[in-house]
Symmetry: C3
């Protein structure tokens, strides 16, 4: 499990190197790594981690599509965070080959915080093919 | 397999307890539960099932992002349902630990109906880690 | 692995028959097929492949939700493609039963190109239940 302490209401935190360490330790040569977020106002996604402005654009575009001020029924004022979490998803999967995650050249794994700052967990299951 | 008879055009149906029963019967201690929806105008997602207003906000926000009246080419009048299904996704995965689904404190599993009322199926595959 | 040469900036390419061939050759009777896209401006989704106008409606609706001209920070002019890829997702999963993918009556598997034309790869992992 990876624990992430987010610092602001909305941010995408690169957890690629933490995941890679866990996959390496698992000692699985060929398989799949499944990552699961047990939260309802945070999600997980895979995208470019070379230029940090990409995920900033992503988070801002989600803000424009799902405004914080809705008309919303849920009384906690974070309905936008629930909606964005569903759009992004609660799990990702990465193939493992030769003992390493087989991510593409530009891909990184991000925890997407939509209602921070909070302490978030990511569950990791590494399985043989 | 779980069968759900939806009652209106658009609704999120909580199937968490049905899934939990199937996982318990499967007798897998450590593993993953994969849920798959074999439909093109319904999806599946994980989010809060404590306050039912959360998923109502989700469905209404999707309606605002993807209006039923598009400009759409598909002649059946349900293009919005296809689009929303893709945004939500056709499968979810939940880790299993100690024989139970390891969902977060607030998480439930929802079939997302976007073109009901219809009879919908959810395929379930429970696998050892 | 499946290789797809996309032809325009934005298109959904039906790869169902290519995936089916690989699943058949794998000789797995009961299991799951995991498909993963190692790119950050392309995604993968499952939806109707009977009427080709459905996926055209999908791609155009994504264009309306995520305009190519944003206010974006990323300098390459393809932030919309990164955002759409996250909305659609980087992987899909299909149950295998009796040696065949257990897709629904109308479902097909599509590579979603958002920044083509490019050469794209789809990784395939077929696993026993």
């Amino acid at each position: 499990m990876i624990t992430v302490n987010t610092k602001v209401r909305s941010e995408a935190v690169d957890i690629t190197s933490e995941v890679e360490q866990i996959v390496r330790k698992a000692g699985v040569t060929e398989g799949i790594c499944c990552l699961f977020v047990p939260h309802t106002t945070a999600g997980i996604f895979i995208n470019e981690h070379d230029d940090p402005s990409v995920v900033k654009d992503v988070m801002e575009a989600l803000d424009r599509m799902v405004p914080r001020q809705g008309p919303y029924k849920h009384a906690e004022g974070n309905s936008d965070a629930h909606i964005k979490s569903i759009m992004v998803g609660s799990s990702v999967h990465v193939p493992i080959q030769g003992g390493w995650m087989n991510l593409g050249r530009w891909q990184g794994i991000f925890l997407a915080e939509f209602d921070g700052p909070r302490t978030r967990n990511v569950q990791i299951i590494v399985r043989k093919a």
